[in-house]
Symmetry: C2
Amino acid sequence: MSVYKLYCRGESGNCYKVALMLNLVGADWESEFVDFFNPDSKAAFIHTVNPQGELPVLQRPDGKLLTQSGAILDYLSRATGRFAPASDEDRQEVLRWLLFDNHRFTPAFATLRFMVGIRGAEENQLTGYLRAQAQAAYEIVDAHLAGRRFMVGDAPTVADISMAGYLYYDEDARFDRLQFANVQAWAGRISELPRWKHPYELMPRAIREGN
Amino acid sequence: MSVYKLYCRGESGNCYKVALMLNLVGADWESEFVDFFNPDSKAAFIHTVNPQGELPVLQRPDGKLLTQSGAILDYLSRATGRFAPASDEDRQEVLRWLLFDNHRFTPAFATLRFMVGIRGAEENQLTGYLRAQAQAAYEIVDAHLAGRRFMVGDAPTVADISMAGYLYYDEDARFDRLQFANVQAWAGRISELPRWKHPYELMPRAIREGN
């Protein structure tokens, strides 16, 4: 039995944030697939694991369950000493970007990619709104990354790992990410870290290609 | 001159989170109004204070500028020792709720209240989406607060102060908050803290009543 168990699904970049961290630090971990497209699977998960119905959930070695990817990354960073901020000022910056990620960078793009890239939605008022929100958030990150290798300091931290959550999915959300050259280069740097893997290599997925 | 300067606007609950914290701890602070409804005021702010265009911004005593309300609350809590988590486990929980707030509890309701309650938007696909998101987030918080006085532990922390950001605005967002009895009682408890004030008492506002 593995030391860490991650309740997750491959399509979720919020799950990927934790799966990637676990893999990068070489943790002993296993994934436990939760199929949110299957009502029975989701109901069982809510009943037995997380009444709030959110993924990811990380089961710690002592059995305690943790939720919210940013809080889990903070925990793993403290527990392993890896991808931690180098100073107190950096810690403040890492927290700032974790919050920005959860507030603006991840949600708009993730919802757009789910609706358009996975569900195949036509353009509508909501997709237009989400695309504008994603554009504004990506512009901020792209500008921040000008002349920087990583989000905070000179080395990758949990801020990068969190913000990398949705960078490697390639379902077509009709959102041109190639316009953000600094984001693209940074995504490349993160993918060159030892033990990096694509989300669909780390976690089981509900939707097979071609479906 | 005050020790802290908060760039803010009264209509923003994200600004209120910081204004409330500063007032509750009895800090020496002043507000610097930024009028986002005035293009010149907003442009000057972006040019001279925050190129990312986000409020709130807190100027620290040493002149350094901080952004992201959750990161600012964490900073103020460490700087003053007030509204801080009581243990390491509580610290993890406070971070979890700060992230939940920024990810789910604040954004959906805040955007709905801006569009419907301030801008007077008719119902549409986007307001329907935001209302459903707000409903789900409020249900989670209401369930969590059953049998609890505050979000984490027995005393108020920055998790409560962050999540209180939009509780006291009463513009009609066509979202029935009275259905959440635990949230209502908790909002009452927070408003009974010494030095609590309503957002429009703490910060200048762009829109006067009757406008």
